[in-house]
Symmetry: D2
Subunit: 309 residues, 4 copies
């Protein structure tokens, strides 16, 4: 295979204020497949187009926000190699046993990023029970429900020391920088978008005073038409829309930002370009960042840089 | 970067019967950017969304068909490594000097495949003059013309010893097998689809008695809507449509097959799933191949297995 | 109101070979709303976007085909006026009592057309129980199911004396001729498309030796995207597709022809232009009729002029 | 024909601050066909899908805004009948000679509405030189340019005595009320949408203290996909977007509000439902008007009720 090292952002565990309400939302409105409940009461989901056991876990807590996101890597050997290099890079790293708190997952390593986020690295996940067909497949194994997101796509992390987190992503995990938004000084970076594959981004990191914050996590849709239908269903289901339907200048993706019932910002995302590592990096000057994020209104909305969980 | 080795099928040189007619077709109808003419009278094109100097070269000749397709690899080091492994695999391989017959291209290696096709490997290509913007980019540097294909996507090769060509692609070039159509015996493969990235395929190989044949080469479009608009423009421009608009079961892509003025089969392609190397291979039994190729009519059309150039 | 006289083709009763199978198909695959069963065992349906009690009735019979289609007119006064003029025109006409064999329908007049078809005229229909919302409406009252057709659109009738049927439609019912396909002689008409409103057609009439035949009846969809999704669902549900997804040159509509389980040809139709009575008529020479019907392949398929019910 | 009386809103004359700038915008960005300049320096445009000589005239003036909009009626006889009834209704009405200030137009009547707007009634317009093809037509006679609007659709008028203007539209011109937004008192109407055909609206009237104001005039597009592409082109061309891409709850149309270089609000509009005069009226309570106009954000934006020309 020619995709090596980190395959993709493949997993995220989020905190929600009310689990029942969140389950109703992520299952019936977003259209994720409900996988199962863990022994300690968390709920696992996946997109109908994903093969891994699950890609989202919800945990009830007093505050919304990110527990951690996971990156799937190529092999057990590479996993151990990354663990070694992570420790050498100077980050705290801890092994998590296989089949422990994330059913279906093999051994993981939990890494504390300079921005105050935890990410987990893992190489093995059991095949989901309800995965896409493999023999004479139809285009789906069951008709998508609700908004019908196909799977987890990426997250945007807010925290201090963004430069160091980005350096870890590129130098240790081998992610490519796809786009950069410059800070007002024109020297430092406000935000960096990174990927391990052809997706326009697996993760983005924005310099922010508070550690461990998440701006949004995103689910995939196939087209602008699906984005419009998603907006229709959001209105019908009284989902609070933050911005969109619109296009990002960054990645060229078509998108809606909106909030889950706990206040975590979600995104549905379609149509970004395919990144290859031989592409030059695209750069946004600070005074064009509004257009980079909100390609149609061309101004940052107030909530964008301030509302996080 | 996490995409290693072969980045993608990045180039193709095709023979056409009448160069002027072909230029009119590929530039004005397909909407490729005309790059330049070579010293020996061939014409180079690229999609507006591609960064490399060119991705298609047309050569006037008495017979239509494929001269060779090219695969871009990660680095000059990997290129030399592949050259060595190719020779060890037992295929004829020859170096082509940089900036020779393909302006803008660095050193290449021409490899003779068991199926009678030539492919070229290369690692360095100059940035095209008219590439996507890099600073505060708009979604395109100039409005797409005609059908507005964004770039070269993949080709389907027909020839004998397909098994050996596939083995070379996987064992030496590290491509992943994405889907397989079985032969009537249920053991051998009729057709194998392979990729070096998240694209559903860079190349496919079908067992066929005559060597060196090409079934079609494909250009990318963004959506089913663009597929429909392409069909409108084909009708308006009297382009002969072979099949579609339709969906493939294989890769789930949305597609039209049609012919250039020389009888080379083209495809416009959108919307296949994103492949990752940890996905299981999808397999089509021979009696479902009709549905695999023509998801709507569910029967192979007569031309599919017989009309090639 | 400025739409007068005939409002639209609003109803059709079709014969099917197996009622249970037909109900499963029209309800679960096409996505019509099941309204009720009549006392004599026929089943009534409507599209989710229609207000009238029902728009399709299925009757089990030994042969598939058309019982009759209905045209809704502006008022009871106009209905009586049309009855009078129909008799004067020389066609057999018979009153059908309100609330008789079509529950929810007021008084109808059954007219025998020169082409051997029966059409019914009516002016009053009860509001369906499950109609679009009227106060602070959402875009639908329940999420569309299956292919999700929004309602009945038009039918294409085949029979002898087409000229006289067309003359009745224009001179008595006041329909406008929208497009004409000429016969090989260049004088007579092969097919005439007519409408009573802005729809590109309510009904079309094609000269054919056998009386009372129906080529297809069509349901509305909103866009090319819905047409593509319909084709996906047809394949998944093993529905036999006759032609498409494609565009008609005639009316510019985007379309699929396919067959119900009894062999009645259905169509899903989107995107035709809005007709106004001040528009000139568009005319197709006989040797362009292929392009008129099959805008992409530009040749009549064999089944088009021969397979009817 | 079954569409009688008023056929449609077919014409509008608008004031712009700078004619050259406006021509560049309406021709190159909106994609209207430039028809000609009048002797007194006004510029005429039409959509590529319209048959009449022109549908938009721009006049340079010190203030932007509406000169008048025109309604095309069925025949010269009906025109005279409406003139008589308009006078009887008590409105000031004046004849405008054929081929005078609007080249290609027959006799018109200019009517002063109670809301302070002028509308013109007319029945005859010459066929445009560059109209859709009539013999073996392609889907367009020339490829649409820019945003590619197909024609003029409707306007929203703001003024006092809206009730009387609405009464004139219904009682004299025979328009149907399609939707109503109630005033805060729950009794009076804030806004009424009316049509003379199947379009969801030809004109809407909103109660407003200042007479003769226009909120926006709208052009047709075919689909949500075209709406998205329009937004892309607006951003690339630095057009100021007021709201959207979004859906209206009212009429269910998909839409963008934006401003021409003179500050006149434009709309591109696609996908509303087909109105028939036997449909019940849909009503919005005042506290749901936000959702009625801005179906996704569900709140009136500040500019909506205040920014007019």
């Amino acid at each position: 295979m020619a995709i090596k090292g980190v395959l993709r952002a493949g997993f995220i565990q989020m905190r929600v204020l009310n689990l029942d309400e969140a389950v109703q939302y992520y299952r019936d409105v977003m259209g994720l497949d409900y996988v199962d409940k863990t022994a300690d009461g968390r709920v696992m989901f996946k997109g109908y187009d994903e093969f891994d056991h699950h890609s989202l876990t919800l945990r009830e807590a007093a505050e919304p926000g990110l527990d951690y996101m996971g990156f799937k890597v190529e092999s057990a050997e590479i996993l151990e190699e990354y663990a070694k290099q992570t420790a050498e890079f100077g980050l705290k790293i801890e092994a998590v046993p296989a089949q422990s708190d994330q059913p279906g997952f093999g051994k993981r390593y939990a890494v504390d990023l300079p921005t105050g986020h935890r990410i987990d690295l893992y190489s093995e996940v059991e095949l989901a029970a309800d995965h896409p067909e493999l023999t004479n497949p139809n285009i789906w194994q069951h008709e998508p429900k609700g908004i019908g997101v196909t799977g987890f796509d990426h997250a945007l992390l807010f925290g201090p020391n963004a430069k160091d987190t980005v350096r870890y992503f590129t130098d240790v995990l081998g992610l490519s920088i796809v786009e950069i938004a410059k800070a007002p000084d024109g020297e430092n970076n406000l935000c960096v978008w990174l990927t391990g594959n052809n997706k326009a981004h697996d993760v983005a990191v924005l310099e922010f005073p508070e550690p461990g914050k998440i701006h949004h996590f995103a689910f995939k849709l196939e087209s602008w038409n699906d984005i419009g239908r998603a907006a229709d269903l959001m209105s019908i289901n009284n989902i609070k829309i933050d911005a969109g339907p619109m296009r990002h200048g960054v990645t060229r993706g078509q998108t809606i930002y909106f909030f889950d019932p706990s206040g975590n910002r979600n995104e549905v995302y379609a149509g970004g370009y395919a990144h290859f590592p031989d592409m030059p990096v695209r750069v946004w000057d600070f005074d064009h960042v509004g257009k980079g994020i909100f390609y149609y209104s061309r101004t940052l909305n107030d909530a964008f840089l301030t509302v996080v969980t």
